[in-house]
């Protein structure tokens, strides 16, 4: 075998190893930069601020991670359809944006430990006296909902007596709630106080309903990128224990996380 052919064969072997093109921890450290996908259509997780800069809970967490790593942070705006392909092909090193860990998504990406929980519950005007899910299962109650959401089948099953008024989108639902055109809404509660900020005259009450489902969101990364994942787990554990994640959550979401992430050093 000639030297050329050996070198060529070797080059093929080297090229064949990292299939997805995901950057390992060493490569990120050498490059001095980490690329993080955030979704600006999910405020206050990520949003454009008054100066039209990307800002929010996730950029702040990503900033703390980059600082611990000692590299520059580059935020890459991603949308719901492209965020998983971006991370699987190594265009970004990890993705944020309410990446609930599910067995379906875990077929294509790996996850770190959870960063935060995702919760459902009831938002209502404070002082109405209804405290439990059963209090809302009455024909005197009108729920204001967005059509086509996962909340609807749950309401049909669990709150069959309540009347339901449907809207096409969340801004319309929020306005209807603030105008008192119904009693309450059952939906995702994590960002609801942020969404209802335009109606400061109303005092809101949030009642978590854990029986619906609590999911956990971690950072999503390319399958098999264990060097980065192992480091991120250690970093996230530090950010949980120091209280930084909870502090940044409350700053942006205006309420404590409805379900605390059960942090343990045993991972």
């Amino acid at each position: 075998m000639s030297l050329c052919r050996i070198v060529f064969a070797l080059a093929l072997l080297v090229l064949a190893v990292p299939v997805a093109g995901a950057a390992s921890l060493d490569e990120i450290l050498k490059a001095g930069e980490i690329k993080v996908g955030v979704n600006p259509t999910l405020p206050p997780r990520t949003l454009y601020n008054d100066k039209y800069e990307i800002d929010g809970f996730e950029p702040e967490v990503a900033g703390m991670i980059a600082k611990k790593l000692g590299v520059k942070l580059t935020l890459v705006p991603v949308g719901s359809p492209d965020r998983i392909p971006f991370v699987a092909t190594g265009k970004i090193d990890f993705v944020m944006g309410a990446m609930s860990r599910t067995a379906e998504r875990a077929k294509v990406i790996d996850y770190t430990v959870p960063v935060h929980s995702e919760n459902y519950g009831i938002v209502t005007i404070a002082g109405k006296g209804s405290k439990t899910l059963d209090d809302f299962n009455k024909d005197t109650i009108t729920l204001i909902q967005v059509s086509g959401t996962t909340a609807i089948p749950f309401i049909e099953k669990r709150l069959p007596r309540a009347k339901v008024v449907l809207f096409d989108n969340y801004p319309d639902r929020n306005r209807a709630l603030a105008q008192g055109r119904g009693d309450a809404s059952f939906d995702s509660i994590d960002s609801v106080l942020f969404a209802l900020k335009p109606f400061p005259q109303v005092k809101w009450e949030i009642i978590p309903v854990p029986e619906f489902c609590i999911t956990y969101s971690g950072l999503g990364l390319a399958k098999g990128n264990h060097t980065l994942k192992d480091w991120l787990n250690v970093a996230l554990h530090e950010l949980h224990v120091s209280g930084d994640i909870e502090r940044v959550w409350e700053k942006w979401f205006l309420v404590p996380m409805a379900t605390k992430v059960p942090v343990t050093p045993f991972f």
Binding site: M1, L10, K107, K223
Partner: protein
């Protein structure tokens, strides 16, 4: 020229090393499992009710129910492969099966050759007795007024010789006889892996059974996967978490063992 040859030889060695570093075993990554539309799972049918042969002579049991649910979540067909104690680890290490079940307790020795998922269930080595007996822990059994009823030739008998030498021991031939003897008050307690006698306990409803809260030992049983099959392991961890959270694992345990799992798996989303 000589120098060129040496470089050539060095490169060949380097190429061989790279080849060597890629998994030598045929363990299948998750993508291969998905594209083949089939997952091969090792079940040991001599560990009822984890694995057993049912009336139709098919392999069945707790392990098969769990494997079937995991295959359903993956969207692939389940192929149950019969394994025994000596061959199950070689089978998974060489990629003949994708993962192995059958009370696969995580031990440092086994972890040298295979990897483990998060725990699916526990088993306890503990004390089965009846209400009204004063024992709080296994140490209370080391007393000449205590009669332990045990299966002849099993490892707990040796444990008793070492740790409860003062106790009297009544040796019987099998578990149904031991449980009957305890129900009839012919002895005070049994020390063994108590999970497996749940169905026998249910056959003697007149006895008010009690398993001491403090187990002698707890075993955490996982799925065993090949070293280097990390993409499959990561997926299995997420799926096992969902099966814990939905209550599927506890329900399936109750169905096959006739009792609740005695010791919680203590599953957590933090992994």
């Amino acid at each position: 020229m000589n120098g060129m040859k040496r470089i050539g030889a060095g490169l060949t060695v380097a190429a061989a090393m790279i080849l060597g570093a890629t998994p030598m075993t045929a363990a299948r990554p998750l993508d291969d499992v998905l594209s083949s539309k089939k997952i091969m799972v090792g079940v040991n049918p001599t560990l009822p009710p984890l694995g057993l042969f049912n009336d139709k002579n098919q392999i069945d049991g707790f392990d098969v129910d769990i494997a079937r649910e995991l295959a359903k979540m993956l969207g692939v067909e389940l192929e149950v492969v019969q394994v025994g104690s000596p061959d199950r680890i070689p089978f998974v290490a060489s990629g003949k099966i994708d993962f192995v079940m059958g009370a696969m307790t995580r031990t440092p020795e086994r972890a040298k050759v295979i990897d483990f998922t998060v725990p699916v269930h526990t088993e306890i080595f503990g004390v089965l007795t009846t209400e009204g007996k004063p024992y709080k822990t296994a140490a209370d059994l080391n007393d000449d007024k205590v009669t332990l009823v045990q299966v002849r030739g099993t490892t707990p008998v040796q444990w008793i010789e070492r740790n409860a030498p003062k106790a009297k021991v009544l040796l019987l031939d099998n578990y149904p006889d031991v449980i009957r003897a305890l129900a009839q008050g012919r002895g005070d307690a049994m020390i063994d892996v108590v999970d497996f006698v749940g169905n026998l306990m249910n056959q003697h409803k007149q006895a008010t059974w009690k398993v001491l809260d403090v187990p002698v030992d707890v075993y955490y049983c996982s799925l065993g996967v090949a070293k280097n099959s990390a993409t499959l392991k990561e997926w299995l961890n997420v799926a096992i978490f969902e099966l814990h959270r939905s209550g599927f694992i506890d329900r399936t345990w109750q169905k096959w063992f006739g009792v609740k799992m005695f010791y919680e798996t203590k599953w957590t989303p933090y992994f």
